[in-house]
Amino acid sequence: MFLSIEPDGPVPIYQQIRDRIVEAIAGGRQPVGSGLPSTRQLAVDLGVNFHTVNKSYDLLRREGLLRLNRKSGAVVQRDAGSGPPSPDWAQDWAGRLETLLAEAAAQGMPADEIITHCRAAIAAFAFPADAEEHAPGHRTAIEGRP
């Protein structure tokens, strides 16, 4: 997996690392059980302070996506095939999504274009085949996948 960041960009580096790993998990490039480099190795590879990578990994651990231990390092704990998230998390996420979509609407983006962007993003995710068959919500969401 290639993990790219923009060190001089407006988004904090730890947030960028966290976002790229979440995208890799959703895209199926880092499935459950797959390992990530140690904080020290990833810090060397990205040329950033190792506390920055530590902060990203800790954030992912608190979100339940990573498991950290001394022996096996950082291992992915959840992915698209791990079953539905907790209701509390889903409610919190829906709130953040509403704000994100509101930003687009407030900037004057038409509803069709917002939906096109959503479809394009979802098309890059790797939903398990059985989830597509049994979850009507998922089937609707991935209509635009190539």
Binding site: M1, F2, L3, S4, I5, E6, P7, D8, G9, R29, G35, L36, P37, S38, R40, Q41, L42, A43, V44, D45, L46, G47, V48, N49, F50
Partner: protein, 374 residues
């Protein structure tokens, strides 16, 4: 003509040619130590500065070679040796002049404005790292072992005063009392060279690959081939250095005798190896950018649509004079060099200073121990 002046007469054209070809073997996106976006690699200022640099370094190389040969022919022992540092300083001046001009134009025209400056890591590199070619270390260790065995066999028959192992090349007539330290000085040198270069290559194996933001998949494939080629080349060179030292040890242990300029003969394996290894590395280009990327699976292919949108991070501020890397936020010990071929230390990392101290300290310590035991 002394051995020292003879070596200097050959070193001057070698370093002259090396500096002259460096811009051609450095990545197009790093010109004279200046980071350049992919679409600016053909800028007029870069072409002008390259032509000026080639002419200047070629003239310096020819002049220094003529001076070194003339001084060597006239029997001067030390003056030819001084020519090489003067040549390197003059070539570095040419580099800095070109760098300053390109930087001025880059700033004035804001080459990186509007570009997404990215740094890319390949997580597969850590999961599936290239294997260190340990078997290439075997010949060097065999040469060291052979030197030790020959030395142990010869030691009882050696006379009470020996050629100074530390000064045999510079002062062939100088003699010191026979002790294990003076008799085996060259074996210590072999062990130091072998350990130093093996340690350096092991550190380089753990350092980060040089990944192009515009073409990460292919650049990782090329870097993998470059790393293997570099390591095998350096370990072969270490063997030849150890062989040169073995030949020097045999001379010190009076297995054969040489006089005058022929005392430089033990250096032949090292000199030949250096030429062959440098030629192979120069053909690879820095980071292997001249190598073919096919044949090695490094995972994800690069999306052609994304290539144009990304540029490497403009990190000129971390490179002092375009050559010395100092970045406190970067935990890396070694990174790919900005000019020429190879790697350089991150001088903001305290471990780099420890390593450099060890490089200088070990031979200095050996010389002091040898002096104290006389």
């Amino acid at each position: 003509m002394s051995a020292g002046s003879l070596v200097a007469a050959f070193a001057a054209p070698f370093y002259g040619a090396l500096f002259c070809v460096f811009p051609a073997v450095t990545k197009p996106t790093v010109q004279f130590g200046v980071r350049v976006p992919p679409e600016r690699t053909g800028a007029a200022v870069i072409g002008d500065q390259r032509r000026a640099y080639y002419w200047r370094t070629a003239v310096i190389g020819v002049c220094c070679t003529v001076v070194a040969v003339l001084l060597a022919v006239h029997g001067s022992r030390w003056l030819p040796v001084l020519v090489v540092p003067i040549e390197v300083a003059a070539d570095t001046g040419c580099l800095l002049a070109a760098r300053r001009r390109i930087t001025e134009v880059k700033r004035a025209e804001r080459w990186f404005a509007g570009l997404r400056q990215t740094v890319i890591a390949d997580t597969r590199w850590r999961a599936d790292p290239p294997r260190f070619p340990v078997r290439w270390l075997t010949p060097a260790l065999a040469v060291v072992a052979a030197t030790i065995v020959i030395g142990v066999v010869r030691y009882p028959e050696l006379p009470g005063r020996l050629t100074d192992g530390f000064r045999a090349w510079a002062a062939p007539g100088h003699r010191v009392p026979k002790t294990p330290v003076t008799a085996f000085a060259i074996v210590f040198a072999q062990l130091w060279v072998t350990a130093l270069w093996t340690g350096m290559m092991l550190i380089i194996y753990r350092s980060r690959p040089d990944i192009d933001a515009a073409d990460p998949a292919d650049s990782v494939r090329r870097y993998r081939r470059f790393l293997v080629r570099c390591t095998t080349g350096m370990l072969a060179l270490v063997t030849l250095i150890d062989l040169s030292l073995l030949l020097a040890a045999l001379r010190n242990w009076q297995v054969y005798r040489l006089a005058g300029a022929s005392t430089a003969l033990p250096l032949l394996p090292y000199a030949a190896g250096l030429l062959v290894v440098m030629a192979a590395l120069l053909r690879s280009g820095q980071g292997g950018f001249r190598l073919a990327a096919d044949g090695i699976d490094s995972g994800e292919p690069t999306d052609p649509g994304k290539r144009a949108a990304l540029a490497d991070r403009d990190d000129d501020r971390f490179w002092k004079g375009g050559l010395i890397y100092v970045n406190r936020d970067d935990p890396a010990l070694m990174v790919c060099a900005r000019f020429g071929i190879g790697w350089t230390f991150n001088l903001a990392n305290p471990a780099a200073w420890l390593f450099l101290s060890a490089i200088a300290g070990v031979p200095a310590g050996l010389v002091i121990i040898a002096a104290l035991t006389r």
